[in-house]
């Protein structure tokens, strides 16, 4: 195992797939000479040249649309959008085109492309650079949605996304880029990870905590705290992909623990947690001993002030108290 940062793991995934398949290329704003706004594409231009690592103008909808057309004509574009907020400028091409084309043309065209975009708060980037739109993309049929929380998953999921024949919205977290983790060593040491397979990060029988993207890590440390300070054994699940969603693993856990907490950084209304809570209620209602709890980002545009920003993002303490709330009366 090698210790790699998330950004390095993602870069390696792209480089390996580009070496293996000439049809794979990268394009986006400042992915080449600048090496990527978050340095995820570092070194790619040097290795693969301008034909395959293409700096684009700041034209999000056209960047994605060009990717759609290239994908329809046999290539496998990896499009980087600088933040999830900027992806809203490309929403027409992502939803009305990339996601719809295979269906509306009845399978005559494929759109094998990856649209990478980082989001999330924590760096004081304020209201237009730090949002979490997992729920937005999760809603769209025709898309696959990945949200890795560890370097190993990042690499394995990105390799899978590049090889997949469907359009993939690949959501990264800005403050996970520098986080190190163990990644299998060597070129092609990482097998692509099948979409729709959740990871059980920690086993426990008292409460199920589902954490999305960076919140998977927050959930894990909250679980440690719950064990040490409250004697509660939480089971922590990282869904890793939201579409398809490994509901089986989540439901199996809820049937065991009878309690569920969902942690996400996005907005509460119509969020990942809102959806998942409904699915749990529909399919495991009889197993629940307490209402499903959601821990979400605050229902505001991400504030700049460090104090406000930190207060708008879920932390361990919120997860702990939500977990304890599901156990009220049972402890």
């Amino acid at each position: 195992m090698a210790q790699l940062r998330m950004r390095e793991a993602l870069r390696d995934a792209m480089a390996e797939e580009m070496r293996a398949d000439e049809a794979v290329f990268v394009m986006g704003e400042d992915v080449g000479v600048f090496q990527g706004a978050f340095k995820v594409t570092e070194g790619l231009l040097e290795e693969f040249g301008e034909r395959r690592v293409r700096d684009t103008p700041i034209s999000e909808n056209t960047i994605v649309g060009t990717g759609v057309g290239a994908a329809m004509n046999g290539l496998r574009p990896i499009v980087e959008l600088m933040t999830v907020n900027f992806s809203l400028l490309a929403l027409d091409q992502i939803v009305n085109h990339a996601a719809a084309i295979p269906y509306m043309f009845n399978g005559q065209a494929r759109v094998p492309m990856v649209i990478r975009m980082p989001g999330g708060g924590g760096h004081q980037l304020g209201p237009t650079h730090s949002h979490s739109f997992e729920a937005l993309y999760l809603q769209v049929p025709g898309l696959l949605v990945a949200c890795p929380s560890t370097p190993a998953d990042g690499k394995a999921l990105l390799k899978a996304a590049i090889r997949d024949d469907n359009p993939v919205v690949f959501i990264e977290h800005e403050s996970l880029y520098g986080v190190r983790g163990e990644v299998p060593e060597g070129e092609n040491g990482t097998e692509p990870l099948r979409f729709g397979e959740a990871a059980v990060r920690r086993e426990g029988g008292d409460v199920t905590i589902v954490g999305v993207l960076k919140m998977a890590q927050v959930a894990e440390s909250a679980a440690t705290q719950l064990a040490h300070e409250h004697g509660v054994e939480a089971e922590v699940i990282d869904p890793r992909t939201l579409r398809p969603l490994d509901l089986d693993t989540i439901l199996a856990s809820v049937r065991k623990t009878n309690r569920a907490v969902i942690v996400e950084e996005g907005w509460p209304h119509g969020g990942v947690g809102a959806n998942l809570a409904t699915l749990i209620t529909e399919q495991a209602f009889d197993y629940l001993d307490a209402p499903v709890q959601r821990v979400t980002g605050a229902d505001v545009h991400m504030p700049y002030s460090k104090r406000l920003e930190q207060a708008a993002i879920p932390h361990e303490e919120h997860v702990v108290s939500a977990a304890l709330a599901t156990l009220a009366g049972a402890l």
């Binding site: 649309g65 091409q93 094998p112 469907n166 099948r194 009889d286």
Partner: protein, 401 residues
């Protein structure tokens, strides 16, 4: 005036234009009969722009268009019956009834689609051209769009990218003078649309879109530049649609006289007349072209009428592409249970109708949805209207813990 091509080509041009005209007239009629649904955008009057363009394209070239592209597909060689079946929403339609009038597609003929979002096809055209160039193939992409699309952000973005990356693409504005019901003078600050990409370094030219021979020459040159010089160009073809924007257009924005004036320049009549005058085609051939169109369209309607409606259990087909069937990835095995429409085939007729009308939940497969009022779980203030059945199915009974 550009020279007429040889007799065989003239006949082909005339026959193809006549076929599209007749097809569109019939599509309008079938829309009135409610056989075709949704919106219907007809290209009657614009045949010379369409056929002139496709007639100088190679089979390996790509064409991409708008939501007014029945004729474009037919001009590319798609069978009219498959386009008609798509309008009817039937399984033999070009998109199996999933796309409809605005989303015709024929991969085999490299007709890369009709698109319902104005300007949405522009960046896709750039991408198709990019892929051809990337792969070292010399296919050219022809991107047709309306005057209205020249105002979208996609227009500016795509012109810039295509010029910057020297993509082998020809952009062709079908300027029919109106973006829906708003005239060019009222929607574009620059009314010479051929100039709108000059700032990006893409030269533009205006052509008479009612003259099939002139369209051929203009498009052939644009394609040549794209193919040989890897250089995008912009052509503005002046054309006119005799019918409204869609079938639901009261046409309050233009005078009847204007329509009649353009009809005098009818692309089919004028071309037939010229061919006859030049002795290239005789009356017999002109008549033959008309009759062939009549036959083909009649057959298209019969075909569309007899084609079945899509089965409900095909609802989710082609939503996702299976990368390796049975391999490491299969998406829907792990998706949450979606809309329960899959079970509709087994349902009573009433539930089936409800489901077809788009109801999110049409009842359980084994019968109607349980009514709490019928099961003794009566809420306060709600009158019990249905007699409770004998069996007790109150929730929670099977709780295992």
């Amino acid at each position: 005036m550009a020279d007429l091509p040889d007799a065989a080509t003239c006949y082909e041009l005339l026959a193809r234009m006549a076929l599209i005209r007749r097809f569109e007239e019939e599509a309008g009629r079938q829309y009135q009969r409610a056989r075709a649904g949704g919106f219907l955008h007809l290209a009657i009057g614009e045949e010379a722009t369409i056929v002139g363009t496709t007639s100088v394209m190679r089979p390996e070239d790509f064409l991409i268009g708008t939501y007014r592209t029945h004729g474009h597909a037919i001009a590319r060689g798609t069978e009219p019956k498959r386009v008609m079946a798509e309008l009817f929403g039937r399984v033999d339609g070009t998109s199996g009834g999933r796309g409809g009038s605005m989303h015709i597609f024929d991969a085999e003929k490299r007709f890369m689609g009709g698109y319902g979002i104005v300007g949405g096809n522009l960046p896709i055209a750039a991408g198709i051209a990019l892929a051809s160039q990337y792969k070292g193939e010399d296919a050219v992409t022809v991107c047709m769009f309306g005057d209205g699309a020249s105002n979208t952000g996609n227009f500016g973005e795509t012109m810039n990218l295509a010029a910057l990356w020297t993509l082998p693409v020809l952009f062709l504005v079908e300027n029919n003078l109106y973006g829906m019901g708003t005239s060019v003078e009222r929607h574009s600050a620059q009314t010479d649309l051929s100039k709108k990409a000059e700032g990006y370094g893409i030269p533009g030219e205006r052509i008479d879109g009612m003259d099939v021979v002139e369209v051929r020459e203009g498009v052939a040159e644009g394609i040549r530049q794209a193919r040989e010089e890897q250089r995008p160009t912009l052509l503005e073809a002046f054309t006119y649609r005799y019918k409204g924007h869609s079938a639901a257009d009261p046409e309050v924005y233009r005078e009847r006289e204007e329509v009649e004036e353009w009809q005098e320049k009818d692309p089919i009549e004028s071309f037939a007349k010229r061919c006859r005058a030049a002795g290239v085609l005789g009356e017999r051939e002109v008549q033959q072209a008309r009759e062939a169109a009549e036959e083909a369209v009649k057959a298209a309607v019969e075909f569309a009428e007899s084609s079945p409606e899509p089965a409900l259990d095909t609802m989710y087909e082609n939503l996702y592409t299976r990368t390796e069937p049975g391999g490491w990835y299969a998406v829907d095995e792990r998706s949450p249970e979606p809309h329960r429409g899959e079970d509709e085939a087994e349902m009573p007729d009433a539930a089936r109708e409800l489901a077809e009308a788009g109801a999110a939940y049409a009842g359980r497969p084994e019968g109607p949805r349980p009514n709490p009022a019928a099961q003794g779980d009566v809420q306060e203030g709600v009158e019990e209207q249905i007699e409770a059945p004998d069996r007790d199915v109150s929730p929670g009974e099977e709780d295992e813990d």
